[in-house]
Amino acid sequence: MSKSKVRGKRDFLGDIVPLLVGRNPVRVAPAHIMNGFAVSAIGTGKMSGPVRALVRRYENDDALTSVSGAIMGSQEKRRRFGEALRVVLDPDRRVFPHSGSFFPLHAGLIDENRGMDDGFGRDVWRLVATYSQEATSIVRNLLIPSDAADGLTALGVALGADDGAPPQRRTVDPWPWHERGGQSLAHRFGKALCGLVLNPITSNQAAIRSIRLAALSRAVGTAAFLGALRAPEFAANRARAWSDLSPLFAFGGVPPGAVRSLPIRLACRSFEAVVERQRDSLLALLTKRLSNARIPRQTPRSQHPTAIFAAAFPEVSKSLRGSAVDEVRWDADRDKLAANFLRKLYPPGYLAGAYRTIGRMIGLSGPERGAGAPRFVLETPVLALLVSASIDDEQPLPYRAWLDQVYDRFGIILGLGETLDAPTLLRPLGFGGSLLRALEENHETLRRRLVRCGLASEYSDGETEVHGPFVLGGAT
């Protein structure tokens, strides 16, 4: 049986739903999302090809004038240098012989975007550029350093700099949630995601640049994942509070967690509910489009499918629409037609599998494989990022107040906050009498973990204060 041409195609709803899961979610690695982001923010660099040849094939390229002749002239030394560069520039192994994404050590290494990020990077840049006027200068200053304070930055400048004109940035469409105004949850969420990307670690000029770049890459991936989870719901309804959406509960312990523990079971239930609600939202959007599609009365019955799809999805290419018409089981009832179409677009299990895969790579869902049900988790670097993005001015926050802040900004429930009524919010998940125990267990597990990994301080009278990463350990 041939592969469906429609499955995972973002074209049908991509104009109204940003960060929509695409056709190859397994390829959407954080490195590719970051590369897509950088392409949109700065443009493509000129050195990615020659450096890729060196890193993957140990080949010399005339453009690599900055590498000493002693290295490039010796096959053995070139191989050794190529291997070392791969550790620095391709830690996630996302640079392939003819394409791929480098660690963004310099703008010159930004590769052209070949769709490996399913447009996530571009969309995150759209969001950030819409909400922050300084985004361009922050990202440019980070990726095009004027001076080198450490050996790796010096490497980046030496490898990435070329004598050509600065890369050209493309103009981007404004982010759709921005127009909804301050009362809209989508607008506030967009702002929070922008803050997540331009987080205090990324913006901290005193910090080591490698740490800042890694934080930016991680943040771009995290923003893409969190935004993608909620985007269809925001497109389908005008939510004013997180309680209008499906509750997102994440396991607070070290992932993947014991399958039978209450917090894990609750996190699995939440994952299922969030994905299910996303499906419902997509169905609502498709139904609306198909129902609103008006065709001339005199259209012959045999041409109804083609005409309705043309009216509902005018921006989609004719051939793709044709594939949709061929693949979707026709039904005159537009509601049923939309349901049939959604089954082709995102077959049952497709979205859950996609979010599990993308989230696993970023560190927000798991387990990676096996029979365990997918769940929301927080890998330690992502947890640190969340802490960093939810603490203003590096002022420590009491643990419960921090939990409120995480919920307020990102809609993630992790425990029992001061004002956050987590038990009520999670009640729709149907966890019965165990709900409070699950929450309490997660609350305490996460608290201990934050302390253990240096993101919180615990006082002897039971007070716990959450503080940003790279603060206490930093030079004073």
Binding site: F81, R93, E368, D461
Partner: protein, 525 residues
């Protein structure tokens, strides 16, 4: 009257606020902090005593105030005496956040100093209300002190005493408390139906009249720190109350003697000791059989601490299957026999080589452990420098790592192994090490890494490649934070090293390169 109040204190929730001055005087023992606080006050300082309820804040404060009463008048918040006075706030929790800030920030020409006791919760609240206030600075000092950091003296910030870090189980403190006359009287007059001359509780307490035995008990109590739980003065007093007045002489064997209750009593400390060093777990090859069969020969009795006698069970330990009498005798032999160092044995059993290395505060082996850990044990780690690594990987790892990147190093001379500090920002630079995990502190950058038992176990075990092994993730993260703090000062401006990992041959190949942005050149270093 005093004895009755003391007995009531022992039998109730231990709260220093409820004690009469007379009783407080009678049971006060020097902790070593009093003199430091007095010196700071003598320099006109504001001293903030922080800690949780039961940690001994009020006790310390009142002890100091009493000793300075002849010199200064005592003023409470709101008072404005014209004579030289000491502003004392016994419990700042009773004030609201702004009042706390106002008290500490207020000035008076006739004030000799300020002494304020505050729980940590209210301190955090006040610091948040006034981010630039003296209390906020106290909190920052407290943060650093918790991580073993001793900063240079700041004349405009308070001196801070962190009772939360004070080791309430300090050997000298325990020895002094067990030697209190009032405590001895309480034991002698404890209600009991047995003959006062043959009462196991009273006879056993006579053993504690030996300072040597009391010191041995103090040393043994100290080993509970390996459990990494929090131990307060309240726990110590609960323990003292239990060994003095708990149990019954009518049981067989009697459960009232202090040595029995030390292991088998109801206090938290007794439970912890039982967990770590139950008498059954301590093998005494030369003596166990003698104790079991009641063979009190010269080898056993001659080895006792001078001046103390065993409290013998009339029914000796030769009853088949009944280990009660054996445990009864062995519990006291463990404390009273000169050749048995229970504290040392317990330490070895509980913590193995980890403690021996850290107790000696040897930086080299710790640096080597961290260096080897981060490079997956593929090369011998240096003991003279700490390698400072950065990680570029973002994606959750599913494959073997290719190598690690080194961006600087720091000399061993810049590191210290420190415990949390009890006294910080003292005008005479007085310091006092507290209890808790050790910290590896890089002094020039103040970056520090907690080294508790769990972390040392992970460091010694090594960084694993197994993707499913998640235990080490939090340590990896905190190590990166630690490195980053040092790198801000110690990064190489134009060099980097890649340690290429070859897991097949179990070797790490170090490749050093130099890069210059100005001449745009990369070459081998």
């Amino acid at each position: 009257m005093l004895l009755t109040e003391f007995r009531d204190f022992l039998g109730a929730f231990k709260n220093a606020e409820s004690l009469s001055d007379q009783l407080r005087e009678a049971i006060a023992v020097e902790t070593g902090l009093e003199e430091a606080v007095r010196t700071a006050i003598g320099e006109g300082r504001c001293v903030v005593i922080a800690g949780s309820a039961g940690s001994g804040k009020t006790h310390l404060l009142r002890h100091v105030v009493r000793s300075l009463q002849d010199k200064y008048a005592v003023a409470l918040p709101g008072d404005r005496p014209r004579v030289a006075h000491l502003l004392v706030v016994e419990d700042a929790t009773e004030l609201d956040a702004n009042e706390r800030l106002a008290v500490v920030d207020s000035v008076s020409r006739s004030r000799a100093g300020t002494l304020l006791a505050i729980n940590e919760g209210p301190l955090l609240e006040a610091a948040r209300a006034g981010p630039e206030s003296a209390l906020a600075r106290s909190l920052r000092l407290l943060h650093g002190a918790r991580r073993g950091i001793v900063s240079a003296f700041e004349s405009d910030a308070p001196t801070v005493v962190d009772m939360g870090a004070f080791d309430a189980l300090n050997q000298e403190v325990v020895t002094r408390i067990l030697g209190l006359t009032l405590l001895r009287e309480a034991v002698l007059q404890a209600p009991c139906d047995c003959d006062p001359e043959d009462c196991p509780r009273r006879r056993a307490w006579q053993q504690l009249e030996s300072a040597d035995v009391r010191a041995r008990v103090g040393a043994v109590l100290g080993i509970v720190h390996v459990l990494e739980r929090e131990w307060l003065f309240r726990d110590l007093w609960d323990f003292v109350a239990d060994i003095a007045l708990g149990g019954s002489c009518a049981e067989s064997p009697p459960s009232s003697p202090w040595f029995w209750r030390t292991f088998y009593g109801d206090s938290r400390l007794a439970t912890a000791l039982r967990e770590l060093v139950a008498p059954d777990d301590i093998a005494l090859p030369q003596l166990d059989a003698r104790i079991y069969y009641g063979d009190w020969g010269s080898e056993l009795l001659g080895g006792l601490v001078p001046g103390v006698d065993l409290v013998r069970e009339s029914q000796s330990g030769n009853v088949d299957g009944d280990f009660g009498p054996f445990r009864y005798m062995k519990a006291q032999v463990l404390f009273l026999h000169r050749d048995i160092d229970l504290a040392e044995r317990a330490t070895t059993i509980a913590s193995g080589s980890f403690r021996s290395m850290l107790v000696q505060r040897r930086i080299g082996p710790v640096l080597r452990a961290v260096n080897e850990y981060f490079a997956f044990g593929l090369r011998t780690g240096s003991e003279t420098v700490l390698d400072l690594f950065v990680e570029h990987g973002v994606e959750r790892r599913t494959e073997l790592i290719q190598g690690v990147i080194k961006l600087g190093d720091a000399a061993a001379a810049d590191f210290e192994l420190r415990k949390p500090q009890v006294i910080v920002n003292h005008p005479k630079n007085v310091t006092n090490e507290g209890t808790g995990a050790l910290y590896l502190v890089h002094a020039p950058s103040n970056s520090s890494l907690r080294l508790d038992g769990e972390r040392m176990r992970l460091l010694q075990r090594g960084r694993t490649l197994r993707i499913a092994d998640r235990e080490q993730l939090d340590l990896d993260w905190d190590l990166c934070q630690f490195f980053e703090g040092i790198l801000r000062l110690k990064k190489w401006p134009s060099e980097f090293i890649v340690v290429k990992c070859d897991f097949g041959r179990l070797a790490g190949d170090e490749r050093r390169y130099r890069a210059s942005p100005h001449r745009a050149i990369v070459e081998e270093a």
